[in-house]
């Protein structure tokens, strides 16, 4: 559905995107991760036909963004990171405005707006001025706006930024519903745990360079994440750490709240050898807990914390 080949974008001397190549299949939910200024918004702007690439080519649904901007706009819904709204309109008028702009036939508009308001849980706010909505509601209105022309592809740039925990949970639920509707979604977020739960694939970008793109499973494998075990021993933590570090399959042994956190090298090792070593060393084990890998770990391992 989305195909980016060697796209480079420069702002003066700054290279915002450097030879970016990326493929997102139809119906995928692609989480785009990267520090601020990494190039996520620039990538989305290229796909939304708002920005011209200096080199390379991007296609949406097989159409080139350079030559088919009008057609692409009809099948893409783009929600920018900072949502600007016409605050002199009501919610209903705002959605009518964009429905008319997307040439939705007048007869279909009312029903369509009703359904997107229902989906975004804004039915009761239909006649409220946009300026009277809370931040979370305005973000939901932004999602309603991108849905009003029933696009195949959604580009959502930080849809949960600035939202309180409840609004974030509601937004996540909304995105899951959109995924179930079969939309192809490219979503960027700083809340990595949210992407973990709803994305089928991720891309990690840093300083305009795509560090990784692929499935979540592969990302975990590549980052070596997922192989961390928390071990609590009764006494002599230092000796326990020495014993574990002497095994070549162990990368590091850290400490977290009185617990040893063992990180294993990539590959299938099993965990039994850790118990064996400790028991052989005469140490008593109180707890042995394999730690679930998180997207945060993958992100930290695959990026170097560089910001432009």
């Amino acid at each position: 559905m989305i195909d980016i080949q060697g796209v480079t974008v420069r702002y003066g001397k700054l290279t915002a995107l450097d030879d970016l190549t990326l493929h997102i299949g139809s119906g995928e939910v692609f989480g785009f991760i990267g520090p601020n200024g990494a190039g996520k918004s620039t990538t989305m702007k290229v796909l939304a036909c708002l920005l011209k690439a200096d080199a390379g080519d991007a296609r949406v649904d097989g159409m080139h963004v350079r030559d088919h901007a009008d057609e692409i706009r009809r099948i893409v819904g783009y929600m920018p990171d900072f949502l600007g709204v016409y605050d002199d309109l009501t919610v209903d008028e705002y959605l009518q405005f964009f429905a008319a702009a997307f040439r939705v036939p007048r007869k279909k508009r009312r029903a369509l707006i009703g359904s997107v308001l229902e989906l975004t849980d804004l039915v009761e706010k239909r006649n409220t001025m946009v300026s009277g909505l809370s931040r979370g509601m305005q973000q939901r209105l932004g999602v309603a706006r991108v849905l009003v022309h029933d696009p195949k592809v959604l580009l959502l740039d930080e849809p949960a930024s600035g939202l309180d925990p409840r609004a974030r949970i509601e937004m996540r639920g909304l995105l899951v519903e959109l995924r179930n509707m079969g939309k192809t979604i490219m979503v960027s977020s700083h809340i990595l745990s949210e992407l973990h739960e709803m994305c089928s694939s991720i891309g990690i970008i840093e300083r305009g360079v795509l560090e990784y793109a692929g499935s979540l499973e592969d990302a975990f494998k590549r980052a070596g994440a997922g192989e961390r075990i928390g071990i609590r021993v009764q006494a002599d933590h230092d000796r326990a750490a020495q014993l574990l570090e002497s095994d070549e399959r162990v990368v590091t042994v850290g400490r977290d709240d009185g617990e040893l956190v063992v990180e294993l090298s990539p590959g299938e090792h099993g965990h039994h050898f850790l118990i064996e070593r400790l028991v052989q060393g005469g140490l008593q084990i109180e707890a042995f807990t394999p730690r679930t890998a998180k997207l945060e770990d993958v992100f930290l391992r695959l990026t170097k914390g560089k910001v432009q």
Partner: protein, 584 residues
């Protein structure tokens, strides 16, 4: 609070630093210096040409120097006053749009510090501009003919007037959120402050002469009014000063005191804004919550038309605040009735007093109404969203253009209402061709208003800041309608020894709506009076035209405006199309 903290606090520092980084600051200074150089050169050329043959260079300069001082003084006064408004008209509204005003309210700075800091940073810029002509004028003083007091007087008057205008711009900026509204209202209020007292004096002087000493009142007014002081200083008007202080000094002090008053008022408005924000945050609204929810919740949604950009733009209130719009309409109606009763329909001045200000107001609004549309969308971050829709660049620009032109209609309608009343009960009754005057006036006015809106949109697309777009559009048309004819007239006088004859005045003033409209109305009045039978002609500058000639001129001039509007529209659409897939 200590004055230095009030004027030179963190806001002053921030504004001075950011204005130093803006290219516009240097373009403004450079452009102003170039304008003054042009004015001085033309005045020098014109004055040199008038000198008797055989007089020495030093003698000539001694005679020319006062003329140049007068011209520069008047130009400086007018230009700096307008720049004063333009510099502050978006000072506070941009903070609101950029949502930075909330951060300012969270600091221990008082609203006085914020507003006076904004003003003082602009005053520095105005002082720098005000000092630009001084070296040349002081150099000319060597040749005699100019008193140092005169130079000091016009510099002080110009700067104090600019500071007053800037403070009015600040009030407008705190009150409304759109730059064009702030500029228009600022200009109107400044014009009212300078002109209204004299208008009232002129109309009431004779009637109330036995009751009040109107000469004394005129003297007091002259002491308080900067334009009167300026003309009295340079044109040697004989206005006595009983208190022994020169007029320019009292007028400048009055301006500064008024500026302090306006700026203090702006700070009160800021304080009110801050308390409203905190009330909203705390869930307390000043507006009472009625049954059925707040005002925001009780709105009834309208049906959006098939052309959404046009639909929304058309529904923008003309003056942002409905109360102001109604006050303006009621005020205009009352003024019309008063003028009819006071002067009667046969008075030519009555028609000029209604049609000329209404024409200027229409053109001024047309020049400003569309300039901040796209910069405002960019600042409110709605532009990117609009650009992702399939609306074409042509549809967007046409929507904005047509809606802006339609929003201007109330002003021409005032003229039309006056002309209709004049046709029904005034001097046009029974005249064979009564319809030509309103047709000529409205046709010309609407065509040129459309053109100004189109160029405003072009600058709106080009400029990041609405205020810069406003300044450029206004400057372009003031330059073309006033500057170019003056320059050409002087050059023509120098080269050919005459200007009034031939087609040159027709070419220069034909595309000037104010000249065409004034000629049309005066000619229409002549048709209705016996003068027509004697003259049979419209008195256009440099030409006397028959009814057929005037009709041809109006048609050609209007078609020229329409053609130019289409051309500007095409250029703007192309520009916008390039921006649609633009470099961020």
């Amino acid at each position: 609070m200590l004055p230095h903290r009030l004027l030179f606090g963190p806001i002053f520092l921030k504004e001075t630093l950011s204005s130093g980084r803006r290219g516009m600051t240097y373009w403004l200074r450079g452009g102003y210096a170039a304008l003054l150089c042009l004015v001085i050169s033309l005045a020098l050329l014109a004055a040199t040409n008038d000198q008797p043959y055989g007089s020495s260079g030093v003698e000539r300069l001694g005679t020319i120097a006062p003329i140049i001082t007068r011209v520069v003084g008047i130009v400086q006064f007018i230009v700096l006053t307008h720049i004063g408004i333009l510099l502050t008209a978006s000072a506070l509204s941009e903070e609101k749009l950029n949502r930075t005003i909330g951060s300012l309210f969270t600091t221990p700075m008082s609203s006085m510090e914020i507003v006076f800091g904004k003003l003082s940073s602009r005053i520095v810029q105005l002082i720098l501009l005000g000092l630009v002509p001084l070296p040349i004028l002081l150099a000319l003083r060597v040749f005699g003919g100019i008193q140092a007091e005169a130079i000091f007087a016009f510099t002080t008057l110009s700067l104090s007037s600019a500071v007053l205008a800037a403070s009015i711009g600040l009030v407008m900026s705190a009150w409304v959120s759109k730059a064009w509204s702030a500029v228009t209202m600022g200009m109107l209020i400044t014009a009212a402050i300078y002109g209204l007292p004299w208008l009232l004096w002129g109309s009431l002087a004779q009637k109330l002469q036995p009751v009040l000493n109107w000469t004394l009142i005129a003297e007091v007014l002259a002491h308080l009014s900067a334009p009167a002081a300026l003309f009295a200083t340079f044109l040697d008007w004989q206005i006595p000063s009983r208190i022994g202080v020169p007029l320019w000094a009292t007028a400048s002090i009055t301006n500064v005191l008024m500026a302090i008053g306006f700026t203090s008022f702006a700070s009160v408005m800021m304080r009110r804004m801050a308390s409203e924000r905190s009330a909203r945050r705390g869930g307390r609204s000043r507006k009472k919550k009625r049954a059925g929810g707040t005002a925001a919740e009780r709105q009834q949604s309208r049906t959006v038309g098939e052309r959404p950009v046009f639909w929304r733009q058309l529904r923008q209130p003309l003056m942002e605040r409905r109360a102001v719009t109604w006050v303006m309409y009621i005020g205009a109606a009352l003024l019309l009735v008063w003028a009819y009763v006071e002067w009667g329909f046969d008075e030519r001045a009555l028609h000029m007093l209604i049609i000329v200000p209404a024409t200027i107001l229409t053109l001024l609004s047309a020049a400003l109404i569309s300039t901040s549309i796209i910069p405002t969308e960019r600042q409110a971050r709605t532009w990117d969203v609009l650009m992702t829709t399939p609306l074409s660049a042509g549809e967007i620009i046409r929507g904005y253009w047509l809606a802006s032109v339609l929003r201007l209609l109330p002003f021409p309608l005032i003229i039309l209402a006056h002309l209709v009343v004049t046709m029904m009960i005034g001097p046009f009754v029974g005249v064979e061709t009564p319809i030509t005057t309103p047709l000529f006036v409205l046709g010309t006015l609407l065509c040129y208003a459309s053109l100004l809106v189109a160029t405003g949109l072009y600058f709106s697309v080009r400029c990041q800041r609405g205020i810069l777009a406003s300044a450029l559009n206004l400057g372009l048309w003031v330059g073309l309608w006033i500057g170019v004819p003056i320059v050409v007239a002087i050059l023509s006088q120098l080269i050919w020894g005459h200007f009034e004859d031939g087609v040159l005045p027709l070419i220069l003033f034909g595309p000037s709506p104010l000249v065409v409209i004034v000629t049309t109305v005066l000619g229409g009045l002549d048709i209705a009076s016996e003068r027509w039978h004697q003259l049979h002609e419209y008195e256009f500058p440099g030409q006397e035209l028959s009814l057929g000639g005037m009709t041809a001129l109006v048609v050609i001039s209007s078609l020229f405006a329409v053609a130019l509007t289409i051309l500007v529209h095409v250029v703007t659409v192309r520009r916008l199309r390039r921006m649609t897939l633009r470099r961020a």
